[in-house]
Amino acid sequence: MPKINVNGVNLHYITMGSGPDVVMLHGFLGNLAVWHLQIVPQLRKHYRVTTPDLRGHGYSDVTPSGYTCKDLAEDLRGLLDKLGIERPILVGHSYGADICMYFALLYPERVSKLIALEPGLAALVHQRKDQAWPGWDTWVAKLAEVGLVVPEDKRTDLEFLLQLSLETPKFYGPARGLPRNRQPLINLIRNTTLIQDYEFVGDLTLDAIARIRTRTLLIYGDQSHFLSSYNYLHKELPNCEPILLPGGEHFGPLEQPELLTQHMMEFLNGNGKVSNLGQSGDLPFSACTS
């Protein structure tokens, strides 16, 4: 269970395979396992894949603060330096994608290509905090399906919904259906600055998006509640290939690993146009508010 000290924090990571370097960052409240059930076993045949646990997550050290996108991009930089990884392909899911984009903005010479799965972006968080954001209703409905009732005044309370969601059984992976080990995640939500830090914009402003020149594969599920971010990003990123996965929601790596891996491999191999398995372009997303 190797760990490496980066910026004073012991970060846990796994490296597998051989070939060009790929570094993959999981999302908010997740851990590196999300990549290992199906995606890493395929990628490792052609790439050397490194998956860290972000600070506070998985087996990495939990710190009281330091969870802004910029802090975590600096953790990534420190990890790459320590592991001697010069110019990897970066892959991120959700908050992990935000971090990879922040990194590409600060250190474009240290990243060769970028695969951004469902980035949210702090600069666009106002779209998702709006009372009318469809994600709130869906979240409340999903909790109701497993018998967890949300009081009216908590229906748009992020911290409350997150904590309640920890009561749900696991949805994915070999332990599917079993109760979660909630304590580390409750600790992360209650005793660190993670939730506040998530909203830190820093250098990654809306204007800055246009300066991320790294070749980027931008992937969202066409049912995702983060589509308002897709609608902005696919127009503003100067060097991006947008893909919408039919029927996908926010958790692509777990929901549709085969399709996702196929798109990733095509992009990484640079075989010209990615096959038209998903739509691209604007959606008539009427439920999306600004």
Partner: protein
């Protein structure tokens, strides 16, 4: 690639599980029939780590990811003995890694 008997594999797996579960509240004896997920309370992350450590130790790639994903898909569990069977199969009976599936509980 290290060669190992089933006994040696079982010893190694039990030892590693103790390492992974060290801080946990599990008081019953852990043996070959213990179920990793519903009894020992492993999460996906712990199972992924376990698979990585085992592969590293025996210096052999084994399809852990696929095996764990399959368990999730069919909604089953995995006993320690079945884990030993899996390692044994890929170490000793499938040395070229042609990859046959293992029957799950």
């Amino acid at each position: 690639m290290l060669s190992a008997t089933r006994e040696e594999i079982l010893d190694y797996v039990l030892g590693t599980l103790q390492e992974v579960c060290r801080d946990w509240d599990y008081s019953r004896p852990v043996g070959p029939d213990s179920l990793l997920f519903s009894e020992l309370g492993l999460e996906s992350l712990d199972a992924v780590i376990l698979g990585t450590v085992i592969q590293e130790h025996f210096q052999k790639q084994m399809p852990f990811g696929e095996m764990l994903a399959e368990i999730g898909r069919v909604g089953r569990d995995l006993s320690i003995m079945q884990l030993v069977d899996f390692v044994d199969q890929h170490l000793n009976r499938d040395p070229l890694g042609a990859g046959r599936t293992v029957k799950l509980q």
